[in-house]
């Protein structure tokens, strides 16, 4: 547990560094989200940049992004201070969300400048003053740490959170099944290949492993689309359309169609993406679990187990399983990376509305906030899975459990 937590802490540090790296490079890189074909007038541009905190220094911007606070001086009468949230002194004039002008009655009032076009929109937050008095700090309502990714920069009326809420399930719908597919099929296949080393079964498994590793997603996807969607569709048409009308009916109702079309797809729309991603993973997992099992099978302790007279299945399950599964577990980190990278290809090939698509869109549109949002989600997925892997590791390997680290 201590080991896993320690690793988690390290990964968290890396995540923050990685986030800062992405954050600063995208802002320092030439070009920006607001220079399209018809750039806005300089005054509006300045406001836009202020609204997104882009006029601050890089560390301050990052701080504001994480904690939702720009960390500036609060100026008298609420005339300046270009931040998401800030404290307005007593009797300052503000425009409320309703559009009417108001004067602050409390000494602490929270205002959110909601619209970039030089309109000051505010919202009174009850309890803010009490909170400030108690904690000596400002009440923070937004920022990544509070789960608020801010507004998209390319489409300024949409919150990044909404993108994520749409994209994440779409990605998980094929990512998790493909991982399960690869693990549940690949590990037994690898073990069996190791057990039957140099026999035909082993050769078949190695070949499957090789092809899974070598045929890239971007070849597999169009191939499967062509085979299943185009050819199979034609085949079904030829086979059934004249004789069995209900099949055609079902096909028209998209229950037999394996290609996702439209935003909300049924289960069938995720079969091919799962297969494409799954076979790539399967190949890698077969190779790893085979190598792990082979090493364990050649070990001295398996020789001892054989000398005890244990039957093969007991040796495989009790003596070989744990050490052989460890390399597969270690590989789970890169597997997450593989899935995330693969999601870019798969979502493009199958027109799925997942995170990968949003990631590319964000990168090409320079949508800083959307890119940061998807990056945060991807990094969180990685450290979460790595944390689970480390927990499993500690559970599996007694040498880590009782002190010491992974060698």
């Amino acid at each position: 547990m201590a080991y896993a937590l320690q690793r988690f802490g390290q990964m968290l540090i890396i995540v923050i560094i990685a986030l800062f790296a992405v954050f600063s490079t995208q802002r320092l890189a030439p070009g920006g989200p607001f220079d399209g074909e018809r750039p806005p007038p300089p005054a509006i541009l300045e406001n836009l940049r202020a609204y997104y905190d882009m006029d601050l220094s890089m560390p301050a911007q990052f701080y504001a992004y994480l904690f939702g606070m720009a960390g500036r001086e609060i100026e008298a009468n609420g005339t300046a201070g270009k931040a998401h949230w800030f404290v307005v002194p007593k009797n300052a004039e503000i425009t409320t969300l309703g559009g009417t002008t108001d004067r602050s009655t409390d000494d602490d009032l929270f205002v959110r400048r909601f619209c970039p076009w030089d309109q000051w929109l505010g919202q009174v937050l009850p309890g803010a003053r009490a909170h400030m008095r108690e904690n000596g700090t400002v009440f923070r309502k937004c920022g990544v740490v509070r789960g608020d990714f801010g507004l998209s920069m390319a489409r300024r009326s949409i919150y990044v959170n909404d993108y994520v809420r749409d994209g994440l399930p779409a990605t998980l719908k094929y990512a998790i099944p493909s991982l399960l597919f690869a693990l549940l099929l690949g590990v037994p296949m690898g073990f069996y290949a190791a057990y039957r080393q140099n026999k035909p079964a082993d050769f078949i498994m190695i070949t499957i492993g090789m092809f899974g590793t070598v045929v890239p997603n971007l070849v597999m996807a169009p191939l499967l689309i062509f085979l299943f969607a185009v050819q199979l569709d034609a085949f079904f048409h030829w086979l059934f359309v004249e004789t069995l009308e209900w099949i055609e009916l079902a096909r028209r109702q998209r229950t037999l169609n394996l290609i996702p079309s439209g935003k909300t797809g049924g289960v069938m729309h995720y079969v091919l993406p799962t297969l494409v991603l799954g076979t790539g993973l399967l190949g890698r997992i077969v190779r790893l679990s085979r190598a792990g099992a082979l090493e364990a099978l050649r070990s001295n302790y398996v020789r001892t187990a054989r000398a005890k007279g244990l039957p093969a299945h007991v040796i495989l399950l009790r003596h070989v399983f744990k050490p052989a599964i460890l390399p597969v577990l270690t590989y789970m980190g890169p597997v997450t990376a593989f899935i995330l990278t693969g999601s870019l290809v798969i979502e493009r090939a199958f027109s799925l509305p997942g995170l990968g698509r949003q990631f590319i869109a964000a990168a090409t549109d320079r949508d800083y906030t959307l890119l940061m949002g998807t990056t945060v989600i991807l990094l969180l997925a990685i450290i979460l899975l790595n944390f689970i892997v480390d927990l499993l590791y500690t559970w599996l390997d007694p040498r880590i459990r009782r002190g010491g680290g992974r060698s």
Binding site: F226, G333, T336, A363
Partner: protein
């Protein structure tokens, strides 16, 4: 003939009860590699593909790289047609897919070579520093590497390419930056085992400066391993390049790469599947062959890990 003599020599030595250490490790490794029929076959395929890519301009003479002007309407977006010498068909602009595939392979191989070299330099540098420094530096550097391997650096490459333009040299460098970690780890292991070896100890005792040790003893001994692992990196690099090309972030028109071609084909897979067949087949065969060559080389140099 000389091989026969060598065998006879071996027999004589064995009869004398001598332990056989007459051949150098490299010679042994080459002999082991040559015995691996799959690896040798794969090497032949790779060589053929390198030749095809090198002489791609010759195929251009066959049908022309630009659209086929003989009868544009007839030859644009048509299925493979042997009479018209469009063996893989043509794309929607009437360009011959086979010629395009050859040119794409050319770029893919160029990227592979340059990016793998970038990865080699970074990996060897990082691994050597980590291994030579030892102690806390080594621990920290390895921890960082450990964590980096879990992160999809390819995604960073996507961001970087989207932001810093799609110049072909930027593509080279960025892919190289993605694929160096395994190399670094292997080199570090090699350097550590070398550092603890007697002849380095002797050199150090004789007062050779660290730089001298690095240049004269460590580098020559690490080169073999580095080259073996470079052959394992090359298919990875080609994969990353085709991935970026598929996403439209790789090389730009009029250049093309296998990934770009597959991407173009995938867009019209329902009506023009042949646009994907050729480049896809070449990509898969190339990756497969390179993998076999790399595995064969690794097995030959490091037989215990088979």
């Amino acid at each position: 003939m000389s091989l026969l003599n060598r065998e006879r020599n071996e027999e004589a030595l064995a009869a004398a009860g001598e332990v056989l250490r007459s051949r150098s490790l490299t010679q042994l490794a080459i002999a082991r590699f040559l015995r691996n029929r799959v690896a040798v076959g794969a090497t032949a395929i790779v060589i053929v593909m390198i030749l095809l890519a090198t002489f791609a301009p010759i195929f251009e003479l066959l049908t022309g790289y630009e659209m086929d002007y003989q009868d544009r309407n007839f030859y644009s977006g048509k299925a493979p047609n042997w009479d018209a010498k469009h063996y893989f068909g043509t794309d929607q602009n009437g360009r011959d897919i086979f010629v395009r595939t050859m040119f794409g392979m050319r770029i893919s191989m160029l990227v592979a070579l340059v990016a793998a070299s970038v990865a080699l330099v970074i990996g060897v540098g990082y691994g050597a520093i980590s291994g030579l420094a030892g102690g806390l530096t080594d621990t920290i550097m390895m921890r960082i590497l450990d964590l980096l391997i879990s992160y999809p650096l390819t995604l960073i490459a996507v961001i970087a390419l989207a932001y810093f333009g799609r110049n072909i040299f930027i593509v080279f460098v960025i892919i190289g930056l993605v694929e160096w970690q395994i190399m670094a780890r292997v080199i570090r292991g090699q350097v550590i085992s070398l550092r603890n070896s007697d002849f380095i100890e002797a050199a150090r005792a004789a007062g050779v400066r660290p730089i001298g040790i690095l240049v004269r003893h460590i580098v020559p001994n690490v080169t073999g391993v580095a080259i073996v692992y470079m052959t394992l990196i090359i298919p990875e690099v080609i994969l990353v390049e085709s991935f970026l090309g598929y996403l439209g972030l790789g090389v730009q028109e009029p250049n093309t790469s296998l990934g770009v071609l597959i991407s173009e084909g995938a867009n019209s897979i329902e009506r023009k599947p042949w646009m994907t067949y050729g480049p896809g087949m070449f990509l898969v065969v190339l990756l497969l062959a390179l993998n076999f060559v790399g595995d064969g080389l690794r097995d030959a140099f490091d037989p215990k890990d088979r």
